[in-house]
């Protein structure tokens, strides 16, 4: 229990901060949503023109910089890269498409559950199913090969880019888009969002919080550590939602959600499966990208491009429901995940004696 205290406190803090962000202006059940926020940033910098979801979300900047600063202080900043970067980029696109079919990343799924949105429970079932499929391939030797130490400069670029994004947000030049209505127009004050991101970024860096890792480690190793954080987020944001009167139980009329169960399930299954292959959920990818992991930076770029694709090609769902294009895209995502999983599983595709898991040093 004692070793889990840190992550339970961190999860509790995330849950409460998320509810406070809604109180101060963020969309309902969206104190944090890594997928939605990266999607808003894609809109803010003009990568898509969905007018209701355009804003440079300071939470994302804060998450990256919070993780960056704490990892520097703890001497955990390590610049690494080279572990199947383009596979990770495309997996980032796939995870984003799945998340925007469901309407939220795993973190928002948790916050939706805590707000009483039962559609998110269907999403959770899909999420767990997706993780389970990913774990089957992990047990068959799936991996994306090693990363390597690379020059420190490479690792500093992404935090600097985030400072640049903050400058754009503050100066608001004419080429940046800000929604005038819809979810993109709803946000807590800039400095509050930034502070929330910094705090949660540092907490997540410190505790290695990961929404996918919780279920994955439970299935693989019967290890409750990460899952305790996941549960703490649900419990504390549930309490917060009750306290503020935000809790509303049901399927219908939930904020920024649709009631198509099959596609809620399948959307989150894509997110769960894809995130297991990536080694972490979208939140964890942001944190790692602040710690100098350039493979995660590439993944975040995939999420960003995936968001642009999802809106430009009409794949993203809305309160009105799932789109026909979104359904086709989901099926393509599953085929891609299946191929990537199979082709990178060493026990399924024998490549001579080069199996990584069997390499001895001496």
């Amino acid at each position: 229990m004692n070793d889990k205290k840190g992550i339970i406190i961190a999860g509790g803090a995330v849950g409460i901060i998320a509810v406070l962000l809604v109180y101060f202006g963020n969309p309902a059940n969206m104190g944090f949503c890594i997928a939605c926020f990266i999607r808003d940033i894609a809109g803010g910098i003009g990568m898509h023109r969905a007018e209701v979801v355009q804003y440079i979300r300071p939470e994302v900047i804060g998450l990256v910089l919070g993780a960056f600063l704490l990892s520097l202080k703890n001497k955990e900043f390590q610049t690494k890269g080279g572990s199947s970067p383009f596979t990770r980029f495309v997996l980032g696109i796939v995870v984003m498409i799945g998340a925007l079919i469901f309407l939220g990343c795993p973190l928002r799924m948790v916050l939706r559950i805590a707000g009483g949105d039962l559609n998110a429970l269907v999403g959770l079932a899909g999420f767990v199913a997706g993780i389970y499929v990913g774990v089957i391939f992990l047990n068959k030797g799936f991996n994306l090969k090693r990363s390597y130490n690379i020059t420190k400069i490479e690792g500093y670029i992404f935090p600097v880019v985030n400072v640049g994004a903050l400058v754009l947000l503050l100066l608001a030049p004419a080429f940046i888009f800000f929604s005038e209505k819809g979810p993109g127009s709803m946000h807590a004050p800039l400095w509050m969002s930034l502070a929330a991101g910094l705090i949660v970024g540092a907490l997540a860096q410190k505790t290695r919080m990961c929404t996918v890792g919780g279920t994955r480690d439970m299935i693989l190793f019967k290890d409750m550590y990460l899952l305790s954080g996941f549960i703490a987020i649900i419990v504390f944001s549930f309490i917060g939602n009750l306290a503020f009167g935000y809790f509303k139980l049901g399927f219908a009329d939930q904020p920024i959600a649709h009631t198509d169960g099959l596609w809620n399930f399948l959307g989150m299954a894509i997110v769960g499966w894809g995130s297991v292959l990536l080694g972490g959920c979208p939140l964890r990818q942001l944190i790692l990208s602040g710690e100098g992991n350039t493979d995660s930076v590439i993944t975040v770029m995939g999420l960003l491009v995936g968001a642009a694709i999802a809106h430009n090609f009409g794949l993203a769902s809305s309160a009105a429901g799932v789109t026909a294009n979104g359904k086709v895209a989901a099926l393509i995502c599953f085929v891609f995940l299946g191929l990537i999983s199979y082709l990178n599983s060493e026990d399924l595709v024998k490549k001579g004696s080069q199996s990584l898991s069997k390499v001895n040093v001496e």
Partner: protein, 69 residues
């Protein structure tokens, strides 16, 4: 001579998975090289839960984890 595996550069949860697989073949013990604190913590937690004694030493940029029954 204990069997030694190198998990450097492997992303989550590979270091723990590699440790688990190698222990199935060498249940008496194992030396594991990890190159970051996250993997160090994860592998250490896994080994302790599995009932191993664990000694960790820093070796430049990496850690050597010695697990013994």
């Amino acid at each position: 001579m204990m069997k030694k595996i190198d998990t450097s550069g492997m992303s989550c949860p590979q270091p723990v998975l590699m440790t688990k697989k190698s222990l199935e073949e060498n249940p008496e013990g194992l030396d594991i090289i990890v190159d970051n604190n996250t993997a160090r913590g994860n592998v250490e937690r896994f080994l302790k839960n599995a009932g191993y004694r664990v000694a960790i030493s820093e070796q430049g940029d990496t850690f050597l984890i010695e697990a013994r029954k």
